[in-house]
Structures are given as structure tokens and as C-alpha cells.
């Protein structure tokens, strides 16, 4: 008896320590989750904090006197004249008029406030409206990137302000009089890449991504579903089938950059396909996403209960009819869900595309599958490597757009899984 009691005593005495250990262990778990979620939070706030100003553009609105003599132009419909004409001078003159105290001697400093592409905007406007020559028009132009940076980040130490004190007071004054304004950055969504951050946009990259994704989708979805059907429904139990399965499982874990090497060696060097085009990008991403789609499609086929198959066979359907008429429609939501997740993965992929040359600097929005293009994640990579902080801001904004695409794709997949997938 004494022995037992003393044992109970020992246990009781150790209880406190053991419960403390229990609490500590639980705290470790909570801490781990807090670290992971904290990292997620920091990542998001960092990117949003860096990039939300990328959605804002700075413009300058002024009355431009389109004086033919000043521009060396008397016929705006003449291609040759329009090429030779001076479109910077009217802008400089208009701005000097807007700035009280600025004189002809300050023209260099004044000129540095206007975007280098503003003269192109003016030329195109005049080309479209030749009757404007000799009149005065109120027009809006982008400011120089340095002004843009100053307006948005005046107090921020991370940004180096390139304006001098004179220019700063001018800009402050113009801001107060609403000559310089900030507004939603539509240029960012309607242009291609550019050397000038104010002019740089992601439309080219988005179109490139869409073209690449289209190629990936129309290839990987049918092929993936067909392969899954074969492996689940028709494949005989033999070594060759096992070999196919081993291959698929391994390909799912091969680093994506290896697929880039494959694309470079096979599609570009062996088949002589052009570099940096959406078709080659789509082919490489197809090979990369196929294992994911096959694996999820197989799971979807597996989840269709055997009673469906037996019922169809019982009324005389052939094996192929059972699969195509009954199993496939029932498994389709699951397959679509898996494919959307696979496509989201492909949309965010960068490394293999670097190797097949989709890193080129491309200004134009691509207009076909065989046109040089870049994609959204590569555009982020290109801008992130720039020493100019204004480009970093654009890169963050582009990341936000990319994440918005990815999150909505994943949300769609989750919604579809909840709505369409049947539990048996």
C-alpha cells in the first residue's frame, strides 16, 4: 500500500512540471503559426506599402500655344514636316507662363519638369487634329519622373529627390494651384514597358501572360485529362504503366528551371522555333503543369463511385461510353479545379521563361502567338533589378496585379470545389 501511495505521490509531484511542459509545447505551436502568418503579413504590407503609389500618376495641365512659327511647322498633315518640327518649345513656353517668376533663362530647369515623352503626345495630338495649329489648347501631360517621385515621396529618405530647390518650390506652387495633379495611373494599365518609369506599363506583360496561358491551357488540359483517363480506366497493370506513373510523379518534383533547359535545347535549338515568343513559353509551361493536372484529374476520377460505372455497364454501355458519358462529366468539376490551380502555378512561373528568352526589353504590346513578348512575373523581375526606385514602385504595383490574378483564380477554384463537387 505504502508503495502505491508513494508512486501516486511521485506522479502528483511531477504533474506541475508536466503541465508546464504541455503549455510550453502548445506555445511553441502557436509561435510557429504566428511566425508563418507574420511573414505573410509582413510580405503583404511591404509590397502594398512599396507599391500603392505605383497606381498614381502625376500630370501637368497647361494651355499650350500651338504657334506654327515657334514649332517650324506650317502644315501638320505633311509627314516630313511633322518629323522635323519642334514640339518641346511650346511645352516649355506654356510652363514658363504657368510658373510666376520663371523667365526665359530658366528654360533648362523648366524643361526638366516635363516628361520626355510629352512632345510625342503633343505631336500625335496635332497629327490627329491639324486644325489646332495656331490655336491655344488646354492639354494634360505626364510630368517628368523626378517630379513624380518628388510629389509622391517628398518626405521619404529612401527616395533620392533629383529636383533642385528652385524646381521644388515651383512644383509646390504648381501643386497648390492644381496645375500639377495626381490621379489614377491609367498609363500603367495601357502601355508596354519603357525606359521611363512614368511611361512604363504592364499591358504588354499582361497580354503576353494571357497568350502564354492560353497556349498552356488548350494543350495541358485536354492532354492531362486524357492521360488521367488512360491511367485510371484503361491502363493494364504492368511494368510499363508503373513506369509512366513513376515518370509523372518525378516530373512533378523536377525543378522548373530544368524545363527551361529542355525548352531551350528542344524547342529552340532542335526545332528552330523563335526565342521569347508566347508559343514556346506555353509549350514549356505545358510540360511543367501536366503532372499537376494529371495527378488532380486522377484523384477526381477516382472519387466517382463504382456504382455509377456498374449501372452504366449494366445497361450495355461500352467501356469508353461509361467513361465519356458518365465518369468524365461527374469528375469534371474536380478536374477543372485542379487545372485552375495548375494554371495559377504556371502564371506565377518565371525561371523557365528566363531561359527561353522572354526577358527581352519589349515596348510593344504583343499581337500574336509568334510575336516577341514578356509575361507579368518576368516584368516584375526586370523592374525589380532596376536601380531606379520609381521602377521598384512599378514592380510592387505589378506584383499586386499578379497576386490579384492568382488570388482570384484560387478563389474561383475553392468556390468551384464547394459548389460543384459532389460528395458521394
Amino acid at each position: 500500500m505504502t508503495d502505491q501511495r508513494s508512486q501516486a505521490e511521485i506522479v502528483r509531484q511531477s504533474l506541475k512540471r508536466r503541465y508546464r511542459k504541455e503549455r510550453r509545447f502548445r506555445a511553441y505551436g502557436i509561435m510557429a503559426i504566428a511566425i508563418a502568418l507574420g511573414a505573410l503579413l509582413i510580405l503583404f504590407t511591404d509590397i502594398i506599402g512599396k507599391g500603392y503609389t505605383g497606381f498614381v500618376k502625376t500630370t501637368i495641365t497647361m494651355d499650350v500655344q500651338l504657334d506654327g512659327e515657334m514649332m517650324y511647322l506650317d502644315d501638320p498633315t505633311d509627314e516630313r514636316q511633322i518629323k522635323m518640327a519642334d514640339f518641346v518649345e511650346p511645352l516649355v513656353q506654356a510652363l514658363i507662363k504657368e510658373i510666376p517668376g520663371a523667365t526665359e533663362d530658366d528654360r533648362k530647369q523648366v524643361r526638366e519638369l516635363i516628361n520626355p515623352y510629352a512632345s510625342v503626345t503633343l505631336r500625335d495630338a496635332l497629327k490627329a487634329n491639324p486644325e489646332w495649329l495656331g490655336t491655344t489648347q488646354t492639354m494634360t501631360f505626364l510630368t517628368h519622373t523626378d517630379v513624380d517621385v518628388y510629389v509622391k515621396h517628398a518626405g521619404d529618405d529612401a527616395y533620392s529627390i533629383k529636383l533642385n530647390d528652385q524646381q521644388k518650390t515651383w512644383v509646390d506652387e504648381l501643386l497648390e494651384r492644381d496645375v500639377i495633379e495626381t490621379s489614377f495611373n491609367d498609363v500603367f494599365f495601357s502601355g508596354g514597358d519603357s525606359r521611363d518609369p512614368s511611361k512604363a506599363g504592364i499591358l504588354g506583360a499582361i497580354v503576353g501572360s494571357l497568350l502564354t496561358m492560353f497556349v498552356t491551357l488548350i494543350l495541358s488540359f485536354p492532354i492531362g485529362v486524357a492521360a488521367a483517363i488512360y491511367l485510371e480506366e484503361f491502363a493494364p497493370q504492368n511494368k510499363f504503366t508503373d513506369f509512366i506513373e513513376v515518370n509523372i510523379n518525378n516530373l512533378a518534383a523536377v525543378p522548373s528551371i530544368i524545363f527551361g533547359l529542355l525548352g531551350l535545347a528542344v524547342f529552340i535549338n532542335l526545332f528552330g522555333m523563335p526565342r521569347s515568343v508566347p508559343v514556346v513559353g506555353g509549350l514549356v509551361l505545358t510540360l511543367m503543369t501536366l503532372p499537376t493536372i494529371i495527378i488532380s484529374s486522377r484523384a477526381a476520377i477516382k472519387s466517382v463511385p463504382p456504382s455509377i460505372r456498374e449501372a452504366a455497364e449494366g445497361i450495355g454501355a461500352s467501356k469508353m461510353q461509361v467513361v465519356l458519358h458518365h465518369v468524365l462529366p461527374l469528375a469534371m468539376p474536380g478536374m477543372l479545379t485542379g487545372s485552375i490551380i495548375g494554371m495559377a502555378q504556371a502564371l506565377g512561373e518565371t525561371a523557365p521563361l528566363l531561359l527561353i528568352g522572354m526577358v527581352a526589353f519589349i515596348v510593344d504590346v504583343p499581337d500574336g502567338f509568334f510575336d516577341s513578348a514578356t509575361v507579368l512575373p518576368v516584368q516584375v523581375f526586370l523592374w525589380a533589378g532596376s536601380p531606379e526606385l520609381a521602377f521598384i514602385e512599378r514592380a510592387s504595383a505589378a506584383i499586386m496585379v499578379l497576386l490579384a490574378f492568382l488570388i482570384s483564380m484560387n478563389a474561383l477554384a475553392i468556390w468551384m470545389r464547394k459548389r460543384l463537387e459532389r460528395r458521394w
Partner: protein, 462 residues
């Protein structure tokens, strides 16, 4: 005609064949007294005609489109006069790009030698011819085969079983594409790797401790004789992966344990999708975060403590990579922990063990092989990860174990060697393929071992 348009035309022809086959089977059935006298439904006769017309045409189209570029190049190069036939592959590719520039109008023909201008004309002519021939061939194959298929429609023909067996073969071909991809990877990488070892000895590559792939541009250049020793890359990769694992394994494992053993349904329902979100973020975003936020933070922090840290430290890249891998480790270990039979848990709790004791002394040892498998998969993921290290780790191949210094990795070097201008047969470019081969082998090995462990473990408790 462009291949894309031709593809569309082939599909249209297949649809036409479908309707013709469908109509013929119905008209054949009419005098017999309705379609119940046909062996198969009219749909299958139509589908059979469409497959007859479409499949051979698509095969011809695919093969032609894949190989026409190469064949035309060979003809153009072969047709050059004696004096300027290129001696090496590098010269050949230079010459070809010159010729195609002239042909596309980017370079005026007056700027180049006469034979090259002629070659450009020939290239242009061959391209037109090839396009013409391809269109003609594909269309005639589609029409002819479709017509043959159409002719052979008989009421006694078992169209359904024919269509089904063709479809089955198509499905098989899709599944076998996985094998083809693997073979493609192995061949493309192996071929260039062997060429590389023809230029740089295998032992130097494996055991050399100096990496600087800048080879001489001209033969008489003194400065750089490239060095291709992969040890610094190898250790750099290992260092960064090790840092990533130090972050990912404890955090991933502990959060998996907490979520599966302690957390209520509601908490799990919120936290799990959030953790999975970490896995869904593109690697380029992590790279951006590592290069522009974490790396400066670490070097500032180190500077404030009086330690010198590089602005492209291994620590920044490794830590961010670890964050990326957390959900990978946590979901794999979650599966494994949940696979441990409930009876073991109940037994341990019934003996009076606390939950943490049960976890540490019963479930964890039982799940250990599976967790090890998961960790190996995570390591292979870390080794092959590219964007984070390309953006946040440096290019300097240092042989160091100090996480605050700059190191470079295998994937960084592959990307650096293969982006930008390249000559295809220089040791520099080929080295990228050799590195790719090493990377492929290493990850393959890790995956095979890991999958074997995980499978064995699963069988144990099934």
C-alpha cells in the same frame, strides 16, 4: 499559310468530314429501314470520318512545322559557296542570323557580301516554298484520308469500336508524353553535358574549387581562362538550402502539430488556407521581398551590431526561401501525422500521458520516417528553387560557410550563363547544361528516396 491557320483549317475539314460521314451513314440506313439497321449510331460514323481526316493531317502538320526550320537552315548553309562555309557551329549560327536578318529586311542586302544576300533570297524562297508545300500536303492528306474514310462507311461497319480504339490510343499517347518529357530532359541535358566534358575535364568540374566562367572572347585575349570547378556553387546551394531548412522545418512541423492536435475546427479552417497562401505566392515575389526588404534589413542589422554583412547575404535568400517552404513541410507532415492510427494516440492518453508527451514519445517517432521523406522533398525543392536566389543571392562564387557573406548557387549560374547573348558551343553555355544535369540528378535522387520512404511508411499503417 501559317501553321496556326492551317491548324484551324484542319479542324474545320475534320468537322466537315464528321457531317459528311454522319449524313452518309443516315442515307445508307434509310433504304434498310432506319438507323437501327446500322451497326453503330450515326454519330460514330461521323466521328470515324473526322478522325480519319484529322489525325494523319495533324501528324503531318506537326512534323513539318517542327522540322522545317532546321531543314531549311541546312539547305541554305549547304548551298553557300566554298569560301564562306562556316567551320564551327558558332560561326554557322552567326552566319544564319545574319542571313535571316537580311531576309526579314532588318539588314539591307547592300550591307553584306553578295553570297549572303543570295543566301537570304534563297532562304526567303525556301520558306515560301515550304509553307506552300506544307499547306498543300496537309490539306490533301486531310481531304484524301477523309474521303477514304467516308467511302468505307457500310451499314455492317462497326464504327463505334474503331472510334473507341483510336481514342484509346490517343489517350495512351497523352499518358506516354510523360515518358517522352523525361527522355527529352535527359537527352537534351546529357548531350550538351558530354560536349562540355569534351572541353573541360570531368574531374576539374567535380573537384575544382574555383568558378569563374568568363572565357576569352577572342583567341588572343590574355585575361581570362575560364575556371569551371563546381564546388563553390555546390556549397553555396547547400548553405542556402540549409538556412531555408532551419527556418522551414521547425516552423512547418510545429504548426502542423498544433493544427492537427490542438487547434479547433474554426482555427484550422482559417489558418490552413492562409498557410497555403504562402505556397501560392509566385517565387518572383519572394525574390523581390528578399532582395529589396530582407537583405537590406539584415545588412543594416548586422552593421548596427558591428558585424560586416554583404548586401546579398546567403542569410536573406535562405530565410525567405524557408518561409516559402513552410507550407510544403507543414502540409506533408500534417498528412503523415494524421496517418498515425488513432489507437496509438488513445492508448498513450489512456496511460495518463499528456498530449505533448503523446506527441513527442508516441506519434512523432511513429511518424518520423514519413516526416523525413517530406523533409527530403522540401530539400529538393530548395535546391532547385531559382528566382529567390537569382534576385537575392549574388554572383560571386565564394567558398564559405558564413551566412552573412555572398554565395552563389547552381540555379543562379544556370540563369546567368543562359540569359543574354550566347554562343551555343562555348564552354560557358555548355557549363549551364552540365550544371542542369547535376541539379536534375540531385533532385531526382532525393525525390526517389523520399517517395520510397513515404510510400513504405504509408503501407505500414494502411
Amino acid at each position: 499559310m501559317q501553321p496556326a491557320n492551317l491548324l484551324l483549317l484542319t479542324l474545320v475539314l475534320a468537322i466537315v468530314a464528321y457531317w459528311l460521314g454522319y449524313a452518309r451513314s443516315r442515307s445508307l440506313a434509310m433504304p434498310l429501314g432506319g438507323i437501327r439497321h446500322l451497326k453503330s449510331l450515326p454519330f460514330y460514323y461521323g466521328a470515324r470520318a473526322a478522325l480519319w481526316s484529322g489525325i494523319p493531317a495533324l501528324i503531318v502538320l506537326g512534323l513539318w512545322a517542327a522540322f522545317q526550320g532546321k531543314v531549311i537552315q541546312m539547305i541554305v548553309i549547304g548551298g553557300l559557296p566554298e569560301g564562306i562555309i562556316p567551320a564551327t557551329d558558332g560561326e554557322a549560327s552567326l552566319l544564319l542570323s545574319k542571313i535571316s536578318n537580311v531576309a526579314s529586311g532588318a539588314l539591307p542586302p547592300g550591307f553584306v557580301e553578295a553570297p549572303i544576300a543570295e543566301a537570304a533570297e534563297r532562304l526567303q524562297a525556301l520558306r515560301t516554298q515550304s509553307r506552300f508545300l506544307m499547306s498543300g500536303l496537309v490539306i490533301s492528306v486531310a481531304v484524301l484520308a477523309g474521303f477514304l474514310g467516308w467511302l468505307r462507311i457500310r451499314p455492317r461497319l462497326n464504327a463505334r469500336s474503331q472510334v473507341e480504339s483510336i481514342l484509346k490510343w490517343v489517350f495512351f499517347a497523352c499518358a506516354a508524353l510523360a515518358i517522352l518529357t523525361t527522355v527529352g530532359i535527359i537527352f537534351s541535358v546529357a548531350f550538351e553535358t558530354f560536349r562540355f566534358f569534351g572541353k573541360v575535364p570531368f574531374t576539374e568540374f567535380i573537384f575544382g574549387s574555383h568558378w569563374s566562367p568568363q572565357t576569352a572572347l577572342r583567341a588572343d585575349q590574355v585575361a581570362s581562362q575560364g575556371a569551371f570547378g563546381m564546388i563553390p556553387l555546390f556549397t553555396g546551394t547547400l548553405l542556402i538550402s540549409a538556412i531555408a531548412m532551419v527556418v522551414a522545418v521547425p516552423v512547418g512541423l510545429l504548426s502542423a502539430i498544433y493544427l492537427s492536435e490542438y487547434a479547433g475546427r474554426k482555427v484550422r479552417g482559417v489558418v490552413k488556407p492562409l498557410l497555403e497562401m504562402l505556397a501560392g505566392i509566385p517565387t518572383v515575389v519572394y525574390g523581390f521581398f528578399a532582395a529589396l526588404t530582407v537583405a537590406p534589413f539584415i545588412s543594416d542589422l548586422a552593421a548596427s551590431m558591428g558585424i560586416e554583412a554583404s548586401s546579398q547575404s546567403a542569410l536573406a535568400a535562405g530565410a525567405v526561401m524557408g518561409i516559402m517552404i513552410i507550407p510544403f513541410v507543414s502540409s506533408l507532415s500534417d498528412d503523415v501525422i494524421n496517418a498515425v492510427p488513432q489507437a496509438m494516440r488513445d492508448g498513450s492518453l489512456a496511460l495518463g500521458a499528456t498530449q505533448s508527451e503523446t506527441m513527442k514519445k508516441v506519434i512523432f517517432p511513429a511518424a518520423l520516417p514519413g516526416i523525413m521523406g517530406g523533409i527530403l522533398l522540401a530539400v529538393s525543392r530548395a535546391i532547385g528553387e531559382t528566382m529567390i536566389v537569382v534576385m537575392a543571392a549574388g554572383l560571386a562564387a565564394n567558398l564559405t560557410a558564413n551566412p552573412l557573406e555572398t554565395v552563389t548557387t547552381v540555379t543562379v549560374q544556370i540563369v546567368t550563363l543562359l540569359t543574354g547573348d550566347q554562343e551555343f558551343d562555348s564552354a560557358k553555355t555548355l557549363a549551364a547544361f552540365a550544371l542542369g544535369a547535376m541539379l536534375f540528378l540531385a533532385t531526382l535522387l532525393l525525390n526517389v528516396i523520399a517517395l520510397k520512404i513515404v510510400r513504405k511508411y504509408r503501407e505500414q499503417y494502411d
